[in-house]
Symmetry: C2
Subunit: 181 residues, 2 copies
DNA sequence: ATTCTCATGTAATTGGTTACATGATTGC
DNA sequence: GCAATCATGTAACCAATTACATGAGAAT
């Protein structure tokens, strides 16, 4: 039985302890979503499939009248997770509209080109801000992999912000010299 | 009429001059695919839509008996491209299985954790290799935006490779100290 | 009262890939 | 003669998002 990376996100979250679909969604939204998002439309059906496949166990644990199903990883589920973790990563996809616009920026006049590079920088700065908001929370477990991954995201976005500023400045100065020639 | 970013990839490619669907696909595959891919299944129907919308003009230009349709940007098409370029970028999505595995790497034992960080580094090194192969070709137009974007990709992947090596080394040394304690 | 959070799920739609089908031209 | 490249297109399929539907409990 072939599982999608999204199924492994769920197994991985369950490896931290038993959780409801709602809790998994919440965790994904403040962690993996930056490199692997998941919606309710995936999570709930996938949880059902995983429990049918014997990789997770479903237990009803209502809070008062509010129904709630908590899933926990079975031994087979943990094995499946370990096997997947040890395999070389396959998927790496990106949809970066800012890069795409920059690629075609030669179509615009120079001042607008500079604005575009700064807009890309602003995009990265916004992401950086979002990551830094999570940081104090993640730093509570300093040697953990979630924290390692967060630091990678921060480093990358810092680099990108600097790169955009540098390139925008370069374009701007080139523009100034061209104007005075 | 709302166009998708993929439609703008096509308009953008046509801004470099008239092209067939086949040529557009070839260009995408050695440039934008790293941050915005497109398949024949998208390109051909989209070209038809763009020409129906008056943003591109279709001209039959067979080579012998081999049929061929070349599209060129209309003035409206160029305007639409410029409007889109000036708008702030929206989409930024990533599916990075390597990061995802790293996030859950705490499940494995330390030597395997080190292997995983190195595997992520290898993924970035492979991408870096692919980009460097394109570089001499792109460097022919040194001040162009396609070349700027390529350099961004190279810088990012170089940074990622170094980061992975550094973190793998750190993990390894931590592992050694823990073992002798 | 009302809004927010907790909680689960499905249906419709979108965006995109892959496979399939067809055929001409070029280079070995 | 055969493989690679040029060239166009559709159909089936897949992954994922969004909107919708429902309802309890907690906080303001």
């Amino acid at each position: 039985m072939q599982l999608s990376p999204t199924a492994y996100v769920i197994l991985g979250m369950l490896s931290f302890g038993p959780k409801s679909g709602y809790e998994i969604k919440g965790l994904v939204d403040k962690s993996t979503r930056f490199f692997w998002a998941a919606s309710y439309g995936q999570i709930y059906p996938e949880l059902k499939r995983l429990s049918e496949a014997g990789l997770a166990n479903a237990t009803d644990s209502p809070q008062g009248e509010r129904r709630r199903t908590v899933y926990e990883l079975t031994d087979e589920g943990r094995d499946a997770l370990h096997v997947w973790l040890a395999e070389p990563p396959q998927v790496f996809e990106m949809r970066n509209e800012g890069m795409l616009k920059l690629f075609f920026a030669g179509e615009l006049d120079p001042p607008e080109q500079v604005r575009m590079v700064r807009a890309l920088g602003a995009q990265h700065a916004a992401k950086l801000g979002a990551l830094r908001e999570i940081e104090p929370h993640a730093a509570e477990v300093p040697d953990s992999f979630p924290y390692l991954v967060l630091r990678y995201g921060i480093a990358f976005n810092e680099g990108a912000v600097e790169w955009c500023e540098r390139e925008a400045d370069r374009l701007e100065s080139r523009l100034a010299t061209a104007g005075s020639r």
